[in-house]
C-alpha cells in the first residue's frame, strides 16, 4: 500500500502546468472528448426515451415496463456494458459503442420522467380538452406535452449529470474523456501520480456538479412559477432520483 506524500500540493502543481492543459491528451483535449461523448449519448437517449415515454404516458399503459427498465439498468454494471458493446458492434473501440452504452444509462430517468410527466396531468384538464374537441394527438401535443415540460427537464438534468459522470468510465475501454487523466495517474503509480489522480478527480467531479447546477437552473426556468412550489418536497424521491448513478 503506497500513499502519496502530499496529494493536494502535487495536484496544484499538476494543474498549474500549462503543458498539462494544452498537450495532446491534455485537459482541454479530454474535456472536449468528454463533452462530445456525453452530448451525443444524451441526445440519443432523448431521441429514444422521450417519444416512448410520452406515448406510453398518453396511453396510460406500460408503467410496469418503465419500472422494469429502470430497475434492470440499475443492476447492470456500467463497466460490463462498456466492454460488451464494442464486441457487439464489432467496430473496434471508436466512439460509437461508448456513446450507445452511455445512452442506455440515460434512458431510465428520461423515460420515467416523460411517463410521469404525462400521467400527472390533471384528468380534468384532459377531459376539458377532449370536450373542446381535441383529437388524441392534439391532446398530447397541446395539453399533455406542455404540462409535462417540468418533468422532462428534471429527467434531462438527471440523465445528463449521470451520463457526464459515467463518461469518466469510458477511459477503461480507451474511450477518452476526463477519466483518462485519472487512469494515467494510476498508471504512473500513486506515489508519483497522486497529484494527477486528485486533479483528474477534481475535474470530473467539478464538471458533474457544474452540469447539475446549470441544468438545475434550466429546470427552474422552464418550470412555470405556480408549479415550482411543492414539487421539491423534502425526502420525497422523484422517479428520476431513484435510478442510481455510475
Amino acid at each position: 500500500m503506497t500513499v502519496a506524500a502530499n496529494p493536494v500540493g502535487q495536484a496544484i502543481v499538476w494543474i498549474n502546468d500549462p503543458l498539462n492543459w494544452t498537450n495532446p491528451g491534455g485537459m482541454l483535449d479530454r474535456l472536449g472528448e468528454h463533452l462530445t461523448i456525453s452530448a451525443l449519448a444524451v441526445a440519443l437517449g432523448c431521441l429514444v426515451a422521450w417519444p416512448l415515454g410520452l406515448w406510453l404516458g398518453h396511453l396510460g399503459r406500460g408503467a410496469g415496463l418503465v419500472v422494469l427498465i429502470s430497475n434492470a439498468t440499475l443492476a447492470i454494471p456500467t463497466l460490463a456494458l462498456l466492454t460488451i458493446l464494442p464486441v457487439v458492434f464489432a467496430s473496434g473501440f471508436g466512439k460509437t459503442p461508448v456513446v450507445v452504452a452511455l445512452a442506455v444509462f440515460a434512458v431510465p430517468p428520461l423515460l420515467a420522467n416523460a411517463y410521469t410527466g404525462v400521467r400527472q396531468v390533471d384528468p380534468e384538464a384532459r377531459d376539458a380538452a377532449r370536450g373542446m374537441g381535441l383529437s388524441s394527438g392534439q391532446l398530447l401535443r397541446q395539453v399533455e406535452l406542455p404540462l409535462a415540460v417540468p418533468y422532462l427537464a428534471a429527467g434531462f438534468r438527471t440523465a445528463a449529470v449521470q451520463v457526464i459522470a459515467t463518461a469518466a468510465l469510458a477511459s477503461f475501454v480507451n474511450g477518452g474523456g476526463l477519466g483518462q487523466i485519472i487512469r494515467t495517474g494510476f498508471g504512473i503509480g500513486i506515489a508519483a501520480g497522486g497529484g494527477q489522480i486528485l486533479a483528474g478527480g477534481v475535474l470530473v467531479a467539478g464538471l458533474a456538479l457544474l452540469a447539475e447546477v446549470v441544468l438545475g437552473g434550466v429546470e427552474r426556468l422552464v418550470t412555470p412559477r405556480p408549479l415550482r412550489r411543492g414539487r421539491q418536497r423534502l425526502g420525497r424521491p422523484r422517479a428520476a432520483d431513484a435510478t442510481g448513478s455510475a
Binding site: 440499475l74 469518466a168 423534502l234
Partner: protein, 228 residues
Amino acid sequence: MSFRLSYRADPGNPWFSWQYVRDNSDTILAAVREHASLTGRAVLIAVLIALPLSVLAYWFRPLAGPILAVSGVVYTIPSLALFAFIAPYLGTGATTVLVGLVLYALLLIVRNVVAGLNQVPPEVREAAEGMGYGRWGRLFRIDLPLALPGIVTGVRLATVSTVALVTVGVLVGHGGLGQLIFAGFQNNLYKAEIMTAALLCVALAVVLDLLLILVARLVSPWSTRRAR
C-alpha cells in the same frame, strides 16, 4: 449441448463457455466472494451510519436540508472521481473501494428512511405521545416500525446499485467481478470471461434483492400484503 453449438459457431471466442467456467472456477468464486463481501460490508456500514443520520434529520427539521444536500452532492460526484479522491490517501486497497461504496449507499438509504419516517401519520404520533411514549420509546416502538417500508426500499436500492458499483473498484485492483470483466477486455476481448462476470454481477444483485425482500417480510409480518 449448447457449449458445442457455440463452439462450432465461433471456435475461438464464444459468448459463453462452460469450459471457461470449469477451468477458472477458483478465480470466479474468489471474485464473487470479494464482490459479495465488499457489497455486504458497504451496505452494512452505510445502514449503521444512515439510520442515526436519518433520525437526526427527522427529529431536528432544520438539519434535514443540510444532511440531504450534502449526501446529494456526494452522490453527484462520479464514482471514478470519488475513488480518485480517496486513493491518494488510503492507497490502492479494498478500503478505498469500501469507503467510496459507503458514501454512495449513504444517500439512497438516508433519503428513503427520512421519507419513511415523514410518512408516519401525525395522528399516530400524537396518539403515541398521549399514551406516554417518550422520544426514544416512540422512535423504536412506533416511528421506525412504521418507516420500515421506506428503510427496506432504501437498503434494496443501495444494495443493487452497490453491486453494480463494486466493478469500478477495478481502478484500484479490488473490483470483485469487475476484475474479471476488465481482464476479459484486456485479454483480447475474451467474451466468455466478460459475459460470465457480467451475468454473475446481475445475478448477485437479484439474489441479494430477493434476500432483502425475504428479510423484510420476516421482520414485518404485518405488511406481507404490501406489494413493495
